[in-house]
């Protein structure tokens, strides 16, 4: 009967539980399905997709730091057409909610991408205006609220799917940004993407990454991500998806209590490939012990008291 307690509604889509594998850490789900039954997940957010194929960044792409990792992948992906033709049929068979993460360099590219996804059976679009690892676009729309408003409102006009906007913690004012995205017609907000960060190779006396900066994720960002989710959830009426350093059920519950409808797990997938299952099971255990009947019962509860 576990699913009765854990299922959640996000932008009109029913998730069997609130645990989603985060974009960029889970490919298109197939690789992890070799290791565990990914149909147990609430959903999968795909690798960030762009209209055209993207080769991604040169040089080193990963670096470990205390409590986290820095990555500089640069939205490498096969392009939307290939995704629809080759990946989507396979990912659809995985029997979980499919969230297509959509990136772009120009407003036009976002619009064309969203239009192309209209005719597919992806469940939700997660508009990625927060990738710190591509030079033009991506996060360029995720810093100033007015830029985000512009791209989200344009995409909203053509997009027939539920539209979630994934925010960058590097936004000038994350709360204002969320409000503007909601005003522009977003059905939901997910946050946070990675923090713009860097590392130096002291022997070679140069930055680790060719792009100099990279995106920081992992447990070290959790308290900041949690604060941002709390603030955003208090400011908008649309569902909020909490992301940032979640490694265990307790972390996930914190985000829910701070106001998130569900959560995404990213970096932790690398520490243990089936960690999402531990999180789902752990949430169920916690709810049983605390006599909590549904996720809805505890969502945003810290604000209610």
């Amino acid at each position: 009967m576990w699913y009765l307690m854990l299922d959640v509604d996000v932008c009109g889509v029913r998730l069997k539980n609130p645990v989603i594998a985060a974009s960029g850490t889970f490919g298109f789900g197939e690789e992890y399905n070799q290791i565990f039954d990914v149909s147990r997940l609430g959903g999968i957010a795909t690798k960030g997709l762009t209209l055209n194929v993207k080769e991604g960044n040169d040089g080193q792409r990963i670096y470990e730091t205390r409590g986290g990792i820095l990555n500089s992948v640069g939205l490498q992906n096969p392009g939307i057409e290939k995704f629809i033709g080759e990946e989507l049929p396979k990912i659809r068979k995985l029997n979980t909610v499919i969230i297509a993460n959509l990136g772009g360099e120009t407003v036009d590219e976002y619009i064309k991408g969203a239009e192309r996804l209209n005719d597919t059976d992806v469940d939700i679009i997660e508009l990625n205006i927060s990738c710190p690892n591509v030079k033009s676009g991506g996060m360029a729309f995720g810093i100033k609220s007015k830029d985000a408003y512009f791209v989200v409102s344009r995409v909203r006009k053509v997009c027939k799917k539920p539209l979630i906007v994934k925010l960058s913690p590097n936004a000038e004012d994350i709360v204002d940004m969320a409000i503007k995205c909601a005003e522009a017609g977003a059905d939901g907000i997910s946050l946070v993407n990675t923090f713009k960060a860097m590392a130096v190779d002291i022997k070679k006396r140069r930055p680790i990454f060719d792009n100099i900066t990279a995106g920081l994720s992992g447990p070290c960002i959790k308290p900041i991500a949690l604060r941002m989710v709390y603030e955003v959830a208090g400011a908008v009426d649309i569902p909020v998806i909490g992301i940032g350093g979640i490694t265990c059920a307790e972390d996930a519950i914190e985000f829910i209590m701070a106001g998130a409808s569900c959560i995404e797990v990213g970096t932790a997938n690398f520490t243990k490939p089936n960690i999402c299952l531990n999180i789902i099971d752990g949430m169920e255990d916690f709810m049983n012990k605390e006599n909590i009947k549904s996720i809805e019962e505890i969502k945003g509860i810290i604000r209610r008291k």
Binding site: T25, K47, E55, E64, Q76, P273
Partner: protein, 252 residues
Amino acid sequence: MQPVYTKGEVLKNIKVSKGIYKLSIKGDYNANMGQFYMIKAWDEEPILPRPLSVHDVDKDSIHFLYEVKGKGTERLRDLNKGDIIELTGPLGNGFDRLKIKGRVAVVSGGIGIAPMLYAAKTLKDLEVDFYAGFRDEIYVTCDIKQYVKNVYISTDSGTYGHKGYVTDCLSESLRVGGKKYDTVLCCGPEIMMKKVVDICETNEIPVYVSLESSMACGLGACLVCTCTTNKGKKRVCKDGPVFLGEDVVFNA
């Protein structure tokens, strides 16, 4: 072979040379030569597991040879008999047995010898010459002898075998020794692999190289371990770690 995520018990973790250790895990494992496992022997730090190539497989154990280089391998070094580690594997495309024929040269540099014991063992029915280069101390070559015809050793310091590079030995065999190979397998530092690929190109021998990269998922999902090839960026973990040498664009 479908990869699995599992826990394994440490049978042995012994020092085989300066900074070089061999970790043996109990259990019935099945892997192809050149494949690897993602290994984690700690709870929190470092965040990522470490990719280690399969050094050898016995009926009731699997072995990994590793060089202590940083925080992860330091933690591995401290493992004792009875400790439990986490493993995901076998992963990646190893050396393809069906593409390897005739007389074979296996060329390793330093810890690049790690996957080559199991390769030599798998190819024991072929005529294999083994070329192993080291900085100073040599290791594993004694274990390899039983599976191959000849072993050629070089050390940078001259402590053992040819003083200089292992690529000198390979060149010498081909040029002066009149050796002919149908296939070459190679694993080592990039600069050395590049040299081996050049030598093989000159001599028109297909060469398969096993690449090393930092990894996060190890499964082909996260795209942090890509290498550059003539056919675009490829995932070392999933498309490799073994590639046809002529396809790889080396940084060195």
